[in-house]
Symmetry: C2
Subunit: 136 residues, 2 copies
Amino acid sequence: MTPIEILHLHHLTRSACREGILRIMLEAHQALSENEIKCSLQSEFDRTTFYRSFKVLIEKNIIHKIILDNNKIKYAISHGHFNAHSRAHFYCNHCKKVLCIPDFKMGQYQIPNGYDILDTEVILRGNCEQCKSNKS
Amino acid sequence: MTPIEILHLHHLTRSACREGILRIMLEAHQALSENEIKCSLQSEFDRTTFYRSFKVLIEKNIIHKIILDNNKIKYAISHGHFNAHSRAHFYCNHCKKVLCIPDFKMGQYQIPNGYDILDTEVILRGNCEQCKSNKS
DNA sequence: TTTTAATTTGCAACATTGTTGCAGATATCT
DNA sequence: AGATATCTGCAACAATGTTGCAAATTAAAA
């Protein structure tokens, strides 16, 4: 699917910034930070415009946000295999790469009585194959 | 354990800010934000001092940081039942309360071949019992 | 196609979370 | 008590995000 098709499908106006973000994100097969997206784009956009685009794309569940615990944020395409209610991502401690984990079985959590879980987010941290080999 | 005992056990200097943070966090039986801790403390500390205290306490795994996806951050005591490598927390969408989930069984994730997972972080989002009842 | 209406964009300002360097105040150790 | 290590406050800065307003762009209607 092209950026324009995606926007049309979700009844979103076709704007330069949204198209650009989607194009870059579809090309990259991993999650990207605001800065990585900005650098990959030819045309420049104000940061405000970026955040407004991210916001609507997230609301429509076209992309989603991943928060790593070093205060770094990345964004990734929510492909069909992702439902909006449970996500898992892998984060490489070494090269900082972030990948979506499409299929997984959720763990079992003992939440207090009467509590309802609506959605879940999992971050798996470790080393990717490349980084593991480079270190030896 | 008292704040002083905890600090001593981890070979940390007994400083006013560290003691204060630990005292408040031991009293609260939930995760707290920087602001919630600051308001509960009598004595005032510079924000820098706070963050430096958080940093050492996190390094020693006495407390840990929880990042919610609305850019809000909370800190919680890492009780013994928490190992440093896998954590789960519950977040109430309504009252914003955060609880640690002590015992749980991790899910199964299909990570690419050759990748190593060193630690995991899980956020379960939903409604706590109080908020669920209040809404009806 | 031209006009009108709705959206998007850029700028300025501000908020939160966090870090670094430096000097002065506290705590620890002998 | 004095020497040394550590902590604290201040100023400055960085990353991430939001809001209000006016100008530009896109979409819809005539």
